[in-house]
């Protein structure tokens, strides 16, 4: 099925907290701050909001709690999605559907987490392996880097992907983060730094793996018609897709039944995404690609048709994904170097690029931006335009 609301809804406000290793705050207060900043950025008052949507792993603040703290008078559509890395675009698209259905007029979407100081993703698994975990954890297969290394290995086996190609993605993100004052990692990274970063789980080194962060991000969604009266140039949601392939698994770790780990859910999303927006990959000016791990960028590029299956490694080389290249990616530094707000920070950077507000890292004349979320068996993506 294809999302059918091209250009009818827009992102009119964005907000975020600081990104830190130890916020010293409740997750709810982080969420509230990001939401309040996004509402103010849209030129609205809290009373104008009637929907609020988030996603979580049982590690965030419930939407009703945030609505209560910030004082939304009557949140008609207050919903929490159970989602992993796939969630960022999913909830934004869900907001458009809710407004289209008449359930709300103005929806705030957020993701908030104490991802470093509180509940660390993959860290919540106890020593009793219940359910699907009984088939993984007893063999010492426990953390997300360990889960995703299995996918990356399969790409290497099938296509000969090299550490230099993974390293180019890490270095590109870092180079962009150096121009972003929000970014948590702003020191330079050379290929040598990458190659010598600590081996964690083959084929991953430390610099293949994203950051862990405390923080929150939020956006305000409303109709294109209402968006035109707001302070900022509207960023229209041109296209979107959500889903994955067969046998997506029992949870956001499990991929035992996945057909082939050399490619991920994006293989199944591309056609719907481009059809919904009425464009092709060649029309994209800048892309914010979910980079929980370096390899996931390759699978998104291949799955969405920027290059052929298996050619992601060579595709990223030669400066193509750098700021002055053909397809600049992760211009704020991505999850690898800006922060890990579960991919929602990619949506904020997309909006800033399309407003022309990205400062030194601005991609000139950026009109169309891709955002992706997810790296395994289910995923989401949006095409935004100004």
């Amino acid at each position: 099925m294809t999302w059918a609301l091209r250009d009818k809804y827009a992102i009119t406000g964005i907000g975020n907290t600081e990104y830190t290793k130890n916020s010293g705050r409740t997750v709810r207060s982080l969420a509230s701050e990001a939401c309040l900043r996004a509402i103010a950025d849209a030129g609205l008052k809290v009373e104008d909001v009637d929907g609020i949507v988030s996603f979580n792993f049982n590690d965030s603040a419930p939407a009703i709690g945030v609505a209560s703290e910030i004082g939304v008078p009557a949140a008609g559509y207050a919903v929490d999605y159970l989602a992993g890395g796939n969630g960022a675009n999913l909830i934004t698209l869900a907001a458009t559907a809710a407004i289209e259905a008449g359930l709300a007029k103005t929806v705030v979407c957020y993701r908030a987490m104490n991802g470093r100081s509180g509940f660390r993703l993959g860290g919540g698994r106890d020593m009793s392996a219940y359910g699907i975990t009984q088939w993984t954890a007893p063999f010492g297969w426990i953390t997300y880097p360990q889960a995703m290394a299995m996918w990356a290995r399969r790409h290497i086996v099938q296509y000969g992907t090299t550490p230099e190609q993974f390293g180019e993605i890490a270095m590109t993100c870092r180079e962009n983060a150096m121009l972003n004052e929000r970014a948590m990692q702003r020191g330079p990274m050379t290929l040598e730094d990458y190659m010598h970063s600590k081996p964690i789980v083959d084929p991953f080194r430390k610099f293949d793996i994203c950051l862990e962060s405390d923080g929150a991000c939020a956006v305000v969604i409303t109709s294109a018609e209402r968006a035109r009266d707001m302070p900022h140039k509207p960023v229209y949601i041109m296209g979107g897709a959500y889903g994955g392939g067969p046998t997506q698994g029992d949870d956001f770790f499990d991929a035992i039944r996945w057909p082939d780990h050399a490619h991920n859910a994006f293989k199944y999303l591309g056609d719907d995404l481009w059809k919904s927006a009425g464009i092709t990959p060649k029309d994209v000016d800048v892309a914010q690609i979910y980079d929980c791990f370096t390899y996931s960028v390759l699978m998104a590029l291949e799955g969405l048709g920027f290059c052929k299956e298996g050619e992601g490694g060579p595709f990223v080389m030669g400066g193509r994904i750098r700021r002055d290249g053909e397809l600049p990616i992760n211009t704020a530094g991505g999850l690898l170097s800006e922060a890990y707000i579960h991919g929602f920070n990619h949506v904020l950077e997309a909006v800033e690029q399309l407003r022309g507000h990205s400062g030194e890292r601005q991609i000139k004349d950026a009109e169309i931006c891709l955002t992706t979320a997810g790296a395994m068996t289910c995923a989401s993506a949006m095409i935004l335009r100004n």
Binding site: M127, Q134, W151
Partner: protein, 134 residues
């Protein structure tokens, strides 16, 4: 000394598997009508209300993908084990399961490498199926 690593908690769907490994047998589910194997175990086969049946399988397969854990996590529990290999093994019957490759240096593991099952009793209740080069 008590066993500190994660232990499977058998449930109504998995109990036959864990009972069998105690007897050094590897069981998998299959559809009684199509003969198609499936793993992890479920109550129904995909597509309807059919109940899968448990059958003993060969315990032979090939390495589909693998990782080598070098930074132990949790550190205190796996410190003495690194580097260790976790693999997705494609059994001859056509389903995949995760396990460890043992009796093989991590650098000697390769895609398609033939492996066979062996068993390691870790508690009175749990025996893990592991794999080694065949």
């Amino acid at each position: 000394m008590s066993y500190a690593k994660p232990l499977p908690v058998p449930d109504p769907e998995s109990r036959p598997f864990w009972e069998a490994t105690k007897q050094h047998k590897l069981l998998m589910q299959r559809s009684p009508t199509t003969g198609k194997f499936q793993f992890p175990p479920t109550t129904f086969t995909p597509g309807g209300l059919e109940r899968p049946e448990w059958v003993e399988v060969s315990g032979r397969g090939k390495v589909f993908s693998w990782i080598v854990v070098r930074a132990p996590t949790p550190a205190d529990i796996y410190a003495a084990d690194v580097p260790y290999t976790v693999a997705l093994i494609e059994l001859d019957e056509g389903v995949r399961m995760a396990s460890n490759i043992v009796n093989c240096a991590p650098e000697d593991v390769s895609a398609g490498m033939p492996v066979k099952v062996l068993y390691k009793q870790v508690t009175d209740e749990i025996t893990l199926p592991l794999f080694e080069p065949a």
